[in-house]
């Protein structure tokens, strides 16, 4: 054990801990900028050397958490680039919760602005998809609804349909569902050349995705423009009538009966309320 100094600085602990976190998350440590230097025994190893161990461990732990949430991004950019990108992200976005499942929501926007990655235009949307997938996997189950009571409703057009907590809606001008699928472990390898990663499709045929959970599996389901609009309207709490108008405007051939039946059977629409 190192030599024990009997001088105890009362009420110093809170400041020490602020300094500790600052040293771990402020970037390169030097003799001049290591805030913990006055508090630690540096007789064998310098303060920046010792704090560097904690900085390395902290950044590795947070990177590991991001890697679990964004495995496809890691695969797309490669492990080394991913680590370097995470380091820059972490130094800007310090964790604020003890639950690391909450961490990383800003990663998609960061990638869009990160100078070494922003030319890869599809990365932001793939990251949004992965964050949505992560959220769907963690969400609560929906409570059980007795759908037979729907028959007693006087004006179905004024109903507000409720989406299951696991539902996430994501749109992109890139084929992000295919990119995601091709980067899963169990997907047979196909030719990536089939996927156009370079060009925005000018909204002609956007990828519209519904994410939700069925038992132990999180599902990524492409949906039509009408369905996507209907789901967005439900998500905003709009009444059924307004949701139908919006969906039909987006897709003239949209069949609300077929879609609603499908969405209820899938558990995506999990209930309704009569008054907002």
């Amino acid at each position: 054990m190192t030599q024990i100094n009997k001088t105890n600085k009362k009420n110093d602990l809170a400041q020490q801990q602020r300094n500790f976190i600052s040293d771990c998350l402020s970037g390169k440590l030097t003799t001049e900028n290591t805030l913990m230097a006055p508090y630690i025994d540096s007789s064998s190893i310098s303060a920046q050397g010792l704090m560097g161990i904690y900085q390395g461990n902290a950044i590795a732990n947070i990177t590991n958490s991001l890697s679990l949430t964004y495995p496809v991004i890691e695969k797309l950019v490669g492990q080394d680039f991913f680590k370097a990108t995470c380091r820059q992200f972490i130094l800007i976005h310090w964790p604020t919760s003890g639950n690391m499942d909450d961490y990383g929501a800003e990663f998609a926007n960061f990638l869009a602005e990160f100078e070494h990655a922003k030319h890869l235009l599809y990365l932001k949307d793939v990251a949004r998809l992965e964050w949505g997938f992560h959220q769907s996997s963690l969400s609560d189950d929906a409570s059980v609804t007795d759908w037979s009571t729907l028959a007693n409703v006087t004006d179905i057009l004024q109903l507000h349909f409720i989406l299951a907590p696991t539902v996430n809606l994501i749109s992109s001008t890139f084929p992000i569902d295919k990119i995601w699928l091709l980067n899963q472990e169990n997907t047979p390898s196909e030719d990536l050349a089939d996927i156009d990663l370079g060009n925005d499709k000018n909204n002609q045929s956007d990828t519209l995705l519904l994410l939700f959970r069925q038992q132990l599996k999180t599902v990524i389901l492409p949906v039509s423009q009408g369905e996507f609009s209907l789901l967005q309207a439900f998500d905003k709490g709009q009444p059924f009538e307004l949701a139908i108008v919006g969906a039909t405007n987006k897709q003239a051939s949209f069949s609300v009966d077929d879609s609603l039946k499908k969405l209820i059977e899938l558990g995506v629409v999990c209930g309704f309320i009569e008054n907002n």
């Binding site: 602990l13 508090y39 590991n64 958490s65 604020t96 003890g98 639950n99 132990l216």
Partner: protein, 284 residues
């Protein structure tokens, strides 16, 4: 009476299906409580299934018992989530570390950060443990940390700090033999003297894991990475621990680069053999 006996294994995601389908012969499993905060999540559903066949110990990493800020919304929220998780998981034991992670309730590092062994820190940790035990309405086990630096204003030795915490708060101790070995190397203290200073009745669980070796400014530092097999020196220290504390429930921990389950089962069998060896020696 403790429902957990023998040598258990830390349950990790890649082994979920194997525990559900093959039900390997392991007396108990330990989980990181924070990975199951959402009761309906996919991971929690797997765990609920596994729980039907195995006793569980809930090992927490984020209560931040050493945080100087005694009460803050972020930490209280975290504690409430632990309480909710424990309510459905019904673990036989609940533990966390003699360390901190949250500063001012604003920033958080997912790591087990060291505290100075001062009177102020002792007061802080005592109040935090009392609060946690009040909220959870059960005994908490507190794990000794591994550390890479020493504070110049420490006035107590780590083992005395832990022994006194146990005495004052009634918490149990989770003795991580690998952490003692790692810290003994990094700080140059006698690991056996550490073991001998810990009150026998306080130790409710033992952890075993692997460490990695790094070189900083020409000095060899052991880092507690939980990514390797248990080293020979740690096995030898474990044998001394079993001699002193008896057949305390023991856990094989592996957190990074988690291997196939068979590797962990081999490590478990080594621990089993040491317990049998020590007990036979004591009977003879």
């Amino acid at each position: 009476m403790n429902k957990i006996k023998g040598v258990g294994i830390g349950l990790r995601h890649r082994h979920f299906k194997e525990f559900i389908e093959n039900k390997p012969d392991v007396p108990w499993l330990e989980v990181h409580t924070e990975n199951f905060f959402s009761k309906d999540s996919t991971s929690s559903k797997y765990l609920a299934n596994i729980r039907q066949n195995y006793e569980i110990s809930a090992h927490c990493v984020g209560m931040s018992l050493g945080s100087a800020t005694l009460s803050c919304p972020v930490r209280e929220q975290h504690l409430q989530k632990i309480k909710q998780t424990i309510a459905w998981l019904q673990p036989a034991m609940v533990s966390d570390h003699l360390s901190w992670s949250a500063s001012d309730g604003v920033h958080y590092l997912p790591d087990l950060l060291p505290i100075p062994y001062t009177e102020e820190a002792f007061e802080v940790v005592t109040q935090n443990i009392n609060h946690v035990q009040d909220v959870l309405q059960r005994q908490l086990l507190v794990e000794n940390p591994s550390s890479y630096l020493a504070f110049v204003d420490s006035t107590m030795l780590e083992w005395d700090f832990l022994a006194n915490l146990s005495k004052i708060t009634g918490c149990g101790l989770l003795l991580d033999v690998n952490n003692i070995f790692v810290s003994a190397h990094n700080h140059g203290f006698d690991a056996l003297a550490y073991l001998e200073s810990i009150p026998v009745e306080a130790v409710k669980e033992i952890h075993l894991a692997g460490y990695s070796i790094d070189t900083i400014e020409g000095q060899e530092i052991y880092i507690d990475t939980h990514g390797q097999k248990v080293y020979d020196g740690v096995w030898q220290l474990y044998e001394k621990a079993i001699e002193r504390f008896g057949a305390v429930p023991t856990l094989i921990e592996w957190d990074t680069d988690v291997p196939e389950l068979s590797v962990l089962l081999d490590e478990k069998r080594k621990a089993d053999a040491i317990i049998v060896k020590v007990l036979n020696k004591q009977i003879a």
